[in-house]
């Protein structure tokens, strides 16, 4: 893994975070491949010993997820924000996507990379008090693909650390 490649991918993730925080959602969609798979599995507490020992997030995705998205569904979610009636984000929340622990591995081809990153995404809503303030923590397992020389997200699994989402909704992207 070259330093240049790592640096380019790191900068890509920071730029993506900035677009989300600046609510430039249509620009953000441009950073996703047309065949993107964007998922956030549900989590649960399990017994360490026993037949259920495989870590739950490594399973195949036949379970209920918090997100199970395609480019089309993500696009519809973005369009909804601009309808003037998406009350969960009207007025919009203020978010800050803090991205860290970036690890870049070889992908299936030279044009792909497997990228792990951790996130702490903060949301302040309305007056930012009494339940209007949320923090979401987890890891993203991405496959990035170079399309016409530009990195794009081709696959993202968002492994949120909470079993019970301590927020009134998940109306933001990760």
């Amino acid at each position: 893994m070259s330093h240049e490649r790592f640096h380019a991918i790191e900068q890509f993730l920071y730029k993506e975070a900035r677009l989300l925080d600046d609510r430039r959602f249509n620009d953000w969609l441009e950073l996703l491949t047309d065949d993107i798979s964007y998922t956030m599995p549900t989590r649960y507490n399990r017994l360490r010993a026993g037949p259920d020992e495989q870590w739950e997030v490594e399973r195949e995705l036949d379970e209920l997820c918090y997100f199970e998205e395609t480019k089309a569904s993500l696009t519809q979610r973005v369009q909804r924000f601009f309808s003037g009636m998406a009350w969960a984000e009207e007025p919009p929340s203020r978010t800050r996507h803090l991205i860290t622990n970036i690890e870049v591995l070889d992908g299936d081809s030279p044009e792909e990379a497997v990228v792990y990153s951790s996130f702490l995404t903060y949301r302040s809503r309305l007056e930012g008090q009494k339940g209007d303030e949320d923090s979401f923590v987890g890891r993203r397992e991405d496959v990035l693909r170079r399309v016409n020389g530009e990195w794009k997200v081709a696959k993202r699994r968002i492994i949120i650390d909470a079993v019970v989402i301590n927020a009134q909704n998940l109306s933001i992207f990760f």
């Binding site: 209920l64 997820c65 909804r80 998406a86 969960a88 339940g131």
Partner: protein
């Protein structure tokens, strides 16, 4: 704090004081009078496919373990050790022969019986009677067509009697195919800063909020007709406190209103079986939303059932599940799961906005003056009627018949004597 419950609501439930959604003493009374007596949803039999499978759940605020024992019998008991109160099972689901408390290792089998006490001879001189110290059993556990319910009240009527004519409508979902239903694995769990009744009263049949609260989805999808006012879309209360919104279509084909083409095709394809099982009326019903008193919500159009667990006067924890016909092909189950996630759960494009509204309902009601006001439930009051084909009290979908049924039942269970006056609260006395 509210001391005089006579000013809490009127006898027709045309208004309910905001204190009902805020007051700590009323909340505590609900725990005792509603949640310790009602039949509460525990989960689905499909979550206990194998002997010794278990899952944990809540009955109101009470943590419970639900098990299938080695012989296939289903049990439910309180998830708290009888010795020192430790939570004996801290996993959400799994398969086990026994639950051993992590504190002093008291061990219980899958029926809740105490089967192991370390130092029983040396410490207790053999004098501890294990039979008396099993986990506290949920007094009655029963299934209705795959749905598991429990009640802490040994004298509660049977589950079937509790559901009353609501069962007529639940069958539209639970009994349309011979194989019945199952849950997609996984539970959506999240927290809303509002009283549980704010969600239950909406889920009871609040068609009124759909075109505006959820207007964004109509604007960005081709689903606009779903939001129209139709004369054959009605609110029904088939039993005190149990309610729904239902659409009675001209034909069984017209009642099939799935979101994705694959699911629509599946329902049309299996319609002959459904007509044969449900008969000429119920096969024409499209079950939009509803609530089984107190807190078991249904949104069948998006394949969601959910429980609004109380977590203090101004907080609830939502557990939402996705159900499918057990015999549906895997690709149809996948399409249903994906449709559900687009609309419901914390990320759902419909449910996101409910979370915002309900939280702000609470946040803007708890101040000293605002809390003395009431909520208005008078829409359609006096226009309730019966229907030749549909059991229960019936009204227009755009109405509040279902809400009033919910609060009248709530007042009855709470032993609250309502005010006689109909249309207005008397304001400002709390």
């Amino acid at each position: 704090m509210l001391t005089d419950t006579k000013t809490l609501m009127d006898e027709r439930a045309a208004w309910v004081k905001r204190e009902a959604f805020l007051d700590r003493a009323l909340y505590d009374r609900e725990q005792e009078r509603v949640f310790r007596r009602a039949w509460l949803f525990l989960g689905h039999e499909s979550q206990l496919a194998q002997p010794r499978d278990f899952f944990t759940a809540y009955m109101g605020e009470e943590p419970v373990i639900v098990t299938r024992d080695g012989s296939g019998q289903i049990h439910a008991f309180l998830n708290t050790c009888r010795h020192r109160g430790m939570r004996v099972c801290r996993a959400d689901k799994g398969n086990t022969a026994a639950f051993t408390c992590s504190y002093h290792a008291w061990t219980y089998d899958t029926t809740g019986a105490l089967i192991g006490v370390p130092k029983h001879k040396e410490g207790y001189y053999g004098e501890l009677n294990k039979e008396e110290w099993g986990l506290l059993l949920v007094a009655q556990v029963d299934s209705y067509k795959g749905l598991l319910f429990g009640t802490f009240d040994p004298s509660a009527p049977s589950l079937r009697a509790y559901l009353g004519d609501m069962a007529f409508y639940l069958d539209v979902i639970l009994d349309r195919r011979a194989g019945g239903t199952e849950l997609i694995s996984g539970v959506h769990r999240w927290v809303m800063k509002a009283n549980w009744k704010v969600a239950a009263d909406n889920n009871s049949g609040d068609w009124y909020h759909v075109p505006y609260t959820h207007g964004s989805l109509a604007r960005v999808s081709a689903r606009r007709p779903l939001f129209q006012d139709l004369p054959n879309r009605m609110q029904v209360s088939p039993h005190p406190g149990h309610t729904l919104v239902v659409l009675l279509a001209e034909t069984p084909e017209a009642a099939v209103r799935a979101v994705s083409p694959a699911v629509q095709e599946y329902y049309l394809h299996t319609l002959p079986e459904t007509i044969q099982r449900l008969g000429p009326v119920r096969s024409r019903l499209s079950f939009v939303a509803g609530n089984v008193f107190p807190n078991f919500g249904w949104v069948p159009g998006s394949h969601s059932i959910r429980v609004y667990h109380p977590r203090g006067p101004e907080c609830m924890e939502v557990w939402s599940y996705c159900f499918v016909d057990k015999d549906a092909p895997p690709e149809v189950k996948a399409a249903i799961r994906q449709d559900y996630v687009q609309r419901f759960g914390p990320s759902g494009m419909l449910e996101q906005d409910d979370g915002e509204n309900w939280s702000q309902v609470s946040a803007s009601s708890h101040s000293s003056l605002a809390r003395t006001l009431e909520f208005n439930y008078q829409m359609g009051l006096g226009h309730e009627h019966s229907h030749a084909d549909l059991p229960g009290e019936v009204g227009r979908a755009t109405g509040e018949l279902t809400h009033r049924s919910f609060y009248r039942r709530w007042a009855h269970e709470m032993a609250i004597e309502p005010a006689a006056d109909g249309m207005h609260g008397d304001g400002g006395d709390a």
